[in-house]
Amino acid sequence: MRTHPSGHRLSLLFPIALLAAGLGPVAAGCGSSDGEADEAAASECLSTKRYFQKEVWSAFMGGTCTKCHTPDGVAVSPEDPNQKPARFVLQPPSYPGFLDANLATLKEMASYSQNGTPILLQKPLGKLDHGGKVVLTEGSPEIKALTELVNRLNSGKEGGTCADAGTTALAGVTNLDGATLVRKATLDLAGRLPTADEVAQAATNDDAALDAILDGLMKEPVFLTRIREMFNDVYLTDKLLGYGGMAIDLMNDSNYPGLKPYKDSKSPEYMDTAKRRMINTAIAREPVDLVAYVVRNDRPFTEIVTAPYAIVNPYTAIAYGANVQFSNPSDYEEFKEVQVTLGSGVQVPHAGILSTPSFLNRWQTTPTNRNRARSRRVYSFFLATDLLKIAERPIDATKVTEGDNPTRNSFYCNVCHKTLDPVAGAFRGWDDNDYEKFTPDAKWHDEMFEPGFGGAKLPPDQYGAGVKWLGPQLTQDPRFYISAVQIVYKGLTGHEPLRFPSDSAAPDFADATAAWEAQDQFFAKTVEAFKASNTNLKAVVKAIVKSPYYRGVAPAPGASPARMRDVGTAKLLGPEALDRKITAIFGVPWIKQWEYEKAHSWLLEDFELLYGGIDSDNVTSRLAGPNGIASSIGWRMATETACHLTAWDFTRPKEQRRLFTVIEPAEVPEAAGHTVEGGVSAIKDNIVKLHELILGEKLAASDPEIERTYQVFYGTWKELTDAGAKDDLYWECQGRIDPLTGKDLPDGQKVTKDKDRTIRAWQAVVTYLLLDYKFLYHLANPQGRRTWNVGASSRSRDSVGWPSWRR
C-alpha cells in the first residue's frame, strides 16, 4: 500500500481491470484487439505520449484541469492557508518539455488508488472531495480517454509499434543538397566561403563527409565567435563592455587588487587604454568565453555551471591576480584554468558561470532582493524556464500584506517564491552590495524558503559554497539540456521554439500540433545525441545544421503550411553576420573609408542597433525581420560597398580579382550602334560568376535571372553612354586605395577613369546583387538551385589584420 500525499490510503493498480463506472476493459495500446475503449484512436496508432497529447491534453486536460492544477492554480497554491495544496501539478506549455513532465506526473498519480479505482479517475468526477467538483462526467469521451491513459501508464505498455508522429510530420521535406548546405554552414559557422575541396566533399551528400566538414568548421575562430554571440543573446553580459570600462568599474579592487592600477585614473596602466579595454572585455565576456572554452576543447557542456575553476587569459590573469604563464601574453584566446583567491584571502567557490564576476555584476542583487533576480536568471539561462510565466494570475496587494512574511505565507507570493527563493539561497555568501565579494560564513535569511533546488535542500556543509552545489543540481534537470539545444536552435535558425497550439478549435490545430510534435521530438532526439556525446555542444550544432529546420527548402508533398511552419530558415543576417559575409565574399568589410587604419565597421558600430543588433542592455532582442530603416541601411551598404570595391577590383590583375575574373572594362555590349557579340557573352559570363560568388547560385548564362541582371548592366551602360557621361569616376568610387591596407595604389595601377562607362555599369550590377534576398539573408536557396564555391577561401584575410577590430 502507498499513502497518497493527501493522506488517503492507497493501493497500486497494475494494470487496471475494471475501471470507472460504465467502462469495460481498455486496450493497452494499439495492436490490442479489444477494439472498444480506444474509440478516439481506433483509426490511428498512437504512442502513449501522443495519446496523452491528442486525446487527453489537447482534448480537455489543457483547458480544464489546468484551470486549477498549474503551479499558480488555486488547487496547487490555495488562497486558504489551511487548505492542503494539491500534489497533482500540471506544467503549462511554456514549461520546457511540458508534455513529458506532465506525463511523468500523471504516471505517478495514476499509481494511486482508493477503493480499487485510481484517484485520478475519481477526482474529476467530483468524488473524494475534489475541490473543483465535477469537471468530467461519467461515460464521457473525456473520462474514457483518461481511463485509457491511466491504464496504459499503469500497465507500462507503450502504444505498440506506432509510427512516430514527429518523424512522419517531417517526412518528405526536401533539404538543401550537401554542396549548397556547406556554403550556408561555412558562411554561418566560420564566416568564410567553402573551399573547393569542401564543396566537392559535401557534393557527395555523404553524411560522414558532411560531419567531417562541420567538425572542421567548428575548429575555426569564427565558430567560437558565433557561440559567444548565441550565448550572449541569452546572458547579455556584453552590457559590461560599455564604454570600454564598465566591467572594471563595477569591480572592487579590494576583492581584485590586480585591478587597482586600472581603476586609478592617474596611473600609467589606466592610461594604457588599449590594454585596459582588453581587460574589461575579458572580464565582461568570461561567461561566454567559458562556453567557448568548453566547446573548443570538447569538454562536457555541464562545465558551464560546474567548472571548479575559472578560465583566465592574459588579461583576466591581470585582473584576477592569477600567477600563470602564457605562450603569448597578448593572445586573448589563450586560456588557462586557475583557482582565484579574493583580496580577503577567500577562495572563490568556482561554479562555472555562476561564480564569475561578470554574471554577478551583470545580474546584481540588493539587500531586499536577496539574489532572487539571479535565481530568475538561473532558471531562464540554464533551464529555459521563465518563472514569471507561472505567476500571471491577478493579485490583490492589500491581501498580500495582511500576514507576516508574505513571500512565504501568502499564496499570491509563494507561488513563485517557493521556486525562486531556494536557488536564491544557493547564492548565499555573495555580498548584497559588493557583488563579486564572497564571505563563506555569511548568514542567510531564515524566513525565506530554504536554500536548495527542485526539492533538494542545500546541505549545511555546503553553506559556504552554495553555487558549487547548485551547478551539478542544475545539470541533473532535463531542462538543462533542452535549454542548451534551444539556445543553439534559435542561434542557428533565428526561430523561437514553436509554442504548443492553444486553440484546439482552430482549423489548423491538427497540423500545428503535428509541427510542434515534430519539433518536440527533434529536440528530444538532439538532447539524446547531446548526452551521448558527453554533452559536447558541437553535437547539437551538427544535429541542427543537418535537420530540416536548417536545411529544408521545400515542403513534403501535400503538407499544409501549418505543418511546415518552422521548416527552413529565412533569417535576416544580423549586423555581425552580414559584416562577416561581406568580408568573406569581398575580402573587405563595409568600413568608414576615411578610417582605414582603425577600420571601423558601419554595421558593428553606427548601424548595429538600427540593423537589428542588441546592446545587451536596453535592446536585448534581435530584430526578427527587416523594417524600413534596415532596408535603407541595406541600400547604403550596397551602394557604398559597390562604389568602393568595383573599380578597386579592376586595379588588380585578372587572376587576383574576386569579382571580375572574365571581363575587362574595355569590353562593351555595343559599338557604333551594333551589338558586340563577344562583349555581351563575356559580360554575361561574368554575371554568372557574380551570381555564384555573391548569391551562391549557379545559373546558366541563358537563365532569365542572368538576363535580368544583364539588363541592369546594359541599361546603366546605355544611360551613361547616351548621356555622354564624363569619363571620371566619382572620387569615392575610384580605384585609388587598397582597402586592405588603406594605402594609395601606385599611379599606374589606379583606376580613376571610366571612358567606356562599363565600370559604373558593373558597379550597378554589384549594387543590385548586394541588395538581394539571398545575400541579405542566410542562404535559403528556396528554388532548390545548386551552388558551389568559385572564389578562393577568405581565410587569407586574417593575414591583413582585420580580426583585431572584429573582437
Binding site: 500571471e392 496587494a397 532596408s631 535603407s632 539573408y777
Partner: protein
C-alpha cells in the same frame, strides 16, 4: 502553397499627418505617491503636504545638484505649466507586481501574453492602407507588435540622416546649396530597385515553405516602406541632437543622464512625426525600481521624467503638432506604502496614469486611493461603491481605443480589450 497576401502598393512615399501617440514608460515601477497621488506622513518621508495646481494634486518634489545646490527642476514647475492638458488617473490596479506582466498590462491593457502594445496597434491601424517607414518607433519598454506593424528601433539623428539618402555620397550637403553626388545616377538607382523588386517578387511567388515566404514577404514590405526617409532627413537638416547643456538650469547638474536620453528620444519622435514617417513612439526611462535608497533615487528619476515630458510637450508645440499628439505616461506598477529595511520600497499593484491629447479634458483627476494607498471599488460610472470592481488598465485602454478611433477596427477586433464594465470619461 497558398498565395501570399501581399498588398501591392505604389512606391510613392506616404506622409502621415496625425494624430500621433507617445507611450512614455517609467521602467521599473514608479511611486505614484511621490507624483500624482501624493501621500506624505509615513508613506513618504520627502514631503508632508501635497501641493496643488488647478485641480491636480501633486507631490512637491524637486531635484538639486549635490555640489552646487542648483535646482534642476521641480514638480511645481511642471504641473503649473501643463495642468490644463493633463488628465490624471489614480488608483489603477495592475493586478500584478511582476515587472513583465506589469509592463504588458499597463501598455496593452491585458495581462495575457500575445498582446501588442497600444502604440503598435495604433500605428498598425493608422497605416494599414499607407505604410510609412517608422510607423512604430521604439526606444524600449513594452513594445510587442505581434506582427501588426514593423517596429523600428530608434537611432541617433546622425545615423538616420546618413541612411535617409542611401545613394547620396555627400549627405552632409543635403539641404545646402552644394550639388549632391550620387553613387549611381538616380535613373540607375531606380533601375536597380525595379529589377530587385521583380526578382524578389518572382522568388516570393515560387517560395514553397512558409518560413521562406514570410522572409521574402517581410523584405518586400520593408522595401515598400523605405521611401520617405528623406522626409525625415529634411526635418533633421540643421538640427543638433539635444543635450542637457542646452538648458541653463540643467547645465553641469550631475546624474541626469537619463533625462538627456529621454529628451533625445523625444526629439527624434517629434521629428519623425513632423516628417510624416511615424505614427507612434515608445519613449523609455528606467531606474524606478527603487528597492533601496528610495527617496533620493525615485525623486531624481521622477523629476527627470517630468522634465523630459516637458521637453516633449514643448518640442511638439514648437513643431506645430502638440494639438495632435496623444501622450500616455505610466509604469509597470506602483511601490509599497511602507519602506523596507534598505530604505527602499518594493512592488505594489496600485499605480497611476497620466494622459493628454486632443479630446482629453485636462486639469482633472479620475479615480482615487485610500489614505493607506489601497484600492477602491467602483460602479460602471466610476463612482466608489462597496461592492464593485477595481479600476484596471483595461478600462483605460478601452477608453483610449475609443478616443483614438480604434474601437471596432481590425486590430481592436483581433486583440479585444474587455473594459466595458467601467466607462472612463476621458473628455
Amino acid at each position: 502553397m497558398a498565395p501570399l497576401t501581399v498588398q501591392r502598393r505604389a512606391r510613392a512615399a506616404n506622409k502621415y499627418a496625425g494624430p500621433y501617440f507617445v507611450a512614455l514608460n517609467a521602467g521599473g515601477g514608479w511611486d505614484p505617491t511621490m507624483l500624482t497621488d501624493p501621500k506624505g506622513g509615513t508613506i513618504n518621508k520627502t514631503f508632508t503636504a501635497a501641493a496643488t495646481a488647478g485641480n491636480l494634486s501633486y507631490a512637491p518634489i524637486e531635484y538639486k545638484d549635490d555640489d552646487s545646490g542648483k535646482v534642476a527642476y521641480t514638480a511645481k514647475a511642471f504641473f503649473e505649466k501643463y495642468k490644463d492638458r493633463l488628465l490624471v488617473i489614480n488608483g489603477v490596479d495592475t493586478t500584478t507586481n511582476n515587472h513583465d506582466t506589469g509592463s504588458r498590462i499597463t501598455w496593452s491593457g491585458m495581462s495575457t501574453e500575445g498582446q501588442p502594445a497600444l502604440a503598435a496597434m495604433f500605428a498598425a491601424q493608422q497605416t494599414k492602407d499607407a505604410p510609412i517607414p517608422m510607423a512604430f518607433l521604439s526606444n524600449g519598454g513594452f513594445d510587442a507588435t505581434e506582427g501588426v506593424v514593423q517596429l523600428t528601433r530608434s537611432g541617433s539623428i546622425d545615423s538616420l540622416r546618413r541612411i535617409a539618402y542611401p545613394n547620396v555620397a555627400n549627405v552632409g550637403d543635403v539641404g545646402s546649396e552644394k550639388p549632391l553626388s550620387y553613387f549611381v545616377t538616380p535613373d540607375t538607382q531606380s533601375r536597380i530597385a525595379q529589377a530587385q523588386a521583380a526578382r524578389l517578387g518572382a522568388m516570393r511567388d515560387a517560395a514553397r515553405l512558409p518560413v521562406h515566404a514570410a522572409g521574402m514577404n517581410a523584405l518586400y514590405l520593408a522595401r515598400q516602406s523605405n521611401d520617405g526617409l528623406d522626409l525625415l532627413a529634411n526635418v533633421l537638416a540643421g538640427q543638433k541632437q539635444v543635450k542637457n547643456e542646452d538648458f541653463p538650469e540643467l547645465k553641469d547638474v550631475g546624474n541626469l543622464g537619463a533625462l538627456q536620453s529621454l529628451m533625445q528620444q523625444a526629439q527624434l519622435a517629434v521629428s519623425a512625426f513632423t516628417a510624416g514617417v511615424a505614427v507612434s513612439a515608445n519613449l523609455s526611462i528606467g531606474g524606478f525600481d527603487t528597492h533601496s535608497n528610495h527617496d533620493d533615487d525615485q525623486s531624481r528619476m521622477l523629476i527627470q521624467l517630468l522634465r523630459g515630458l516637458s521637453y516633449l510637450y514643448d518640442a511638439a508645440d514648437a513643431a506645430g503638432i502638440g494639438g495632435n499628439l496623444y501622450v500616455m505616461v505610466g509604469s509597470d506598477f506602483g511601490r509599497t506604502p511602507k519602506y523596507n529595511n534598505a530604505n527602499g520600497k518594493d512592488h505594489w499593484n496600485v499605480t497611476s496614469v497620466m494622459l493628454s491629447g486632443p479630446g482629453i479634458a485636462g486639469n482633472r483627476v479620475l479615480g482615487q486611493t485610500t489614505p493607506e494607498f489601497g484600492l477602491l471599488q467602483y460602479d460602471t460610472a466610476l463612482n466608489p461603491v462597496s461592492e464593485g470592481r477595481h479600476l484596471e488598465p483595461r478600462h483605460i485602454h478601452a477608453a483610449l481605443r475609443q478616443k483614438l478611433g480604434m474601437a471596432g477596427g481590425d486590430v481592436d477586433k483581433r486583440f479585444p480589450v474587455a473594459g466595458g464594465d467601467i466607462t472612463l470619461p476621458l473628455g
